[in-house]
Amino acid sequence: MNFAAPDFFPAAAEIFVAVMALAVMLSTTFARNIARSLAYALAQFTLLVTAFITIFTLDTVVINDFGGMFVHDLLGGILKLVVCFAMMIALLYGRAYLAERRLDRPEYYLLALLMMLGMMVMITANHLLPLYIGLEMMSLSLYALAAFDRDNACSTEAGMKYFVLGALASGLLLYGMSMVYGATGALELPAVAQAVAGQTANKTVLLFGLVFLVAGISFKLGVAPFHMWVPDVYQGAPTPVTLILSSAPKLAAFALALRLLAVALPGLAGHWQTMLMLVAAASIVLGNLAALVQHNIKRMLAYSGISHMGFMLLGLLSGGGGTADSTIVAYSGAMFYAIAYALMTLAAFGMVMLLSRAGFDAGEIEDFKGLNRRSPWFAVLMLFVMFSMAGIPFFIGFFAKFAVLEAVIAAGHLWLAALAVVMSLIGAFYYLRIVKLMYFDEPLDNAPISASPELQLMLSVNGVAIAALGLMPGTLLSLCRTALAASSITG
């Protein structure tokens, strides 16, 4: 057996993050007096450089590496890039909040980097094992992050709940993977696909495994009926962690779903599409109805996130039916939705952070009252975010909904589109309510906005991007399409 050293170059970004995570750990141990700002600076530096590396290694050529465990394709590159930016923004938004509460310990940034690494491994996995390892790396870091405010009962409860349920979900996923392995005898995703296509695999075992896979994916995406952890963890975790939790990991989970279902198991598309249909319908209905009655903004956004992930699944479940081209269109709709959602949720939680200050958490919806009086600029940005989430043009959220609904209708599931539309009408109400509070009501407190300038600036960029991408969604849409067309998805 001859052993060839793998080509490390395609994985440069991952390796860099891994090295830097260790660097953060070591340097902050020794430089104790500046550890907090050093860790933050190093983390942002790492993410920035990672973004650059990812940009410069973007390529439409698909490279299989590390004995087929790793795939370097445009899809992975774009997703890594978005995840990277999402993490940068999330760390930036959360910094002042954490510092005011003395939570900005170096471990926070260490965990964030490790989580980043986990997500990158997931995104570029071409093999069941790295997929699972990446997922665990991300999840374990997130469990710890959720419980980061360790003296706060809510935070520790959130961490505990997340851990127990998350471990269960990981178990389900692993069990599903073992079934797939048992049925196909392959761990590499393309080999699994081949075995399924070749009809040599035991169909019963395969389907049994598929159910577990879908359950595991659904949990990680936080969609009904595996959503129970979402509202509690979102509410209990410190807001900066909620911010991280609601943005980047959703993109990683999207990659997980894409790799597992679309790359490895396109042969079972009919089956998993039906499962996802039920999951999506349930999430859209439940998420929107439950969000109606929330008083806590984090909880409301949690339920709205459940429904958004349901919408994203609409794109994922509409592929495969017709031509390869229509599959790409459908998946790229889902990808566009996931990116749009990350952008919106970052801005929404960024707003919560903006209104919070030392000793005050803007956790209640009421805290948005009269924002237009206090700061017309941020009120209008929040208005962008809310109408975008409600799917009203000219904002990116409209085109996200547009793209997935188009895919659903092209796939012939008119009832699903009708249901989604009815539910988004119900959803519009709770977004409108926030706009109502900001514009029609008088403020509860007249404290000036005291957030740090970099948060204000970044939030402005973020909000304007939601409007600008809504006016010109073409570039991002075509990027998603090119990425999927140049990926290892055969369609």
Binding site: F387, P393, F399, V421, A428, F429, G474
Partner: protein, 493 residues
Amino acid sequence: MTDIPFLSLAIWIPILGGLLVLASGPDRNAWMARMVALLTAIFGLAVSLPLYFRFDTATAAMQFVELRSWIIEFNINYHLGVDGLSVWFVLLNSFITLLVVIAGWQVIQSRVAQYMAAFLIMSGLMNGIFAALDGVLFYVFFEASLIPLYLVIGVWGGPGRVHAAIKFFLFTLAGSLPMLLALLYLYSVTGSFEILDWHRAALSMTEQSLIFFAFLAAFGVKVPMWPVHTWLPDAHVEAPTGGSVVLAAIALKLGAYGFVRFSLPVAPDAAMAYAPLVIALSLIAVVYIGFVALVQADMKKLVAYSSISHMGFVTLGFFMLNPLGVEGALIQMISHGFVSAAMFLCIGVLYERMHSRQIADYGGVVNTMPKFAAFFMLFAMANCGLPATSGFVGEFTVILGAVQYNFWIGLLAATTLILGAAYTLWMYKRVVFGAVANEQVAQLADIGAREFFFLAVLAACVLAMGVYPFPFTEVMHTSVTELLRHVYTGKLL
């Protein structure tokens, strides 16, 4: 023809001007916000005028066309153009916006910049709706125009504004979401979002029926037709004067316009088949809502119900599917734009002075405000369709069309002349004539120069249109003929 993109200018000048107004900041710079808003509105009207003067009345084809690719991935184009059906509404909208800016000059004292900006942005978006020739572009403008109106009602409205604003938003959204599905379905069938491609696409009866009802939901709510009209009285009562004016004069026209741009040409066979249904709903609006208007104690509510009744006339005219009906309906739309705007402005004039809209609080206004009473008289007469006012032309033509279609429908439709006169003139009598009702009325000051100006301009429009409607019919005629030819040809698979 010319290369100046008049339609783009008519859309984007108000929007950019609105953003500029917003930039003027807090209320201590209110004068600047007002000046910028006024200039923008004048400029917006100025770039709309060539649309009429350079309009070629001999063709039913789209004019002033602009075509650029917007979102290539979904084959969505930035495609603008107007024909005889839509050109007048762009003009009407730009014109009404100018009046609204003038009318809100002194009345609005808080958050002036945001108020003016909301109206300017809304004006640009609504011009976009009338000019869009791409289904998605239309939908995007259609939905986006809800946001400023929602804020206008909610921020500057009366005591029940929150309820009214949310109801308005959700009703309209509920209607337009089925339309989004219809648009996406048409795309999946034709591979294009071009409205004109959809006009040509052959569709089976089932498809046409579903599409027709999806459009009916969107436009029926917007018009509004009975029984989904309940949001309108609420919105009108709570909205500030400017909001009511734009709502009545322009926003309601969007729904009616949708029928001639989408429902009739895209699903002509379904439109023929379901015409009796729409006619029945329209007649209910005309007659039943007319009676409802009769018993209102609140002036704004009364005019709101009269709007519903008049818009019932418009949908009635469209679904007669004969030239008289359709042209009459289009004229009625423009006329109602002038008359309802004038009625709400008149009520606004009274409300600013008395802070009451209850008819019972007034009486004998003519004694203290003679000039105002004269204008109000003219508009009240136009509202009940007196000959030589614009109201007469539209209503009379629609009734002619209705009699041509079916005598009894014509007869029922004609009751509006009696009902309209009854509720309008009875209100006018109670508010304006009689002895001076109370101390406050006795102290009323007559209209000033600013108010005189906008009422006089509207009065001139109402009279001019009533005496010489030719410029309006001339523009529409070719397009209406072509539309009806298209509808009668049908396009079943």
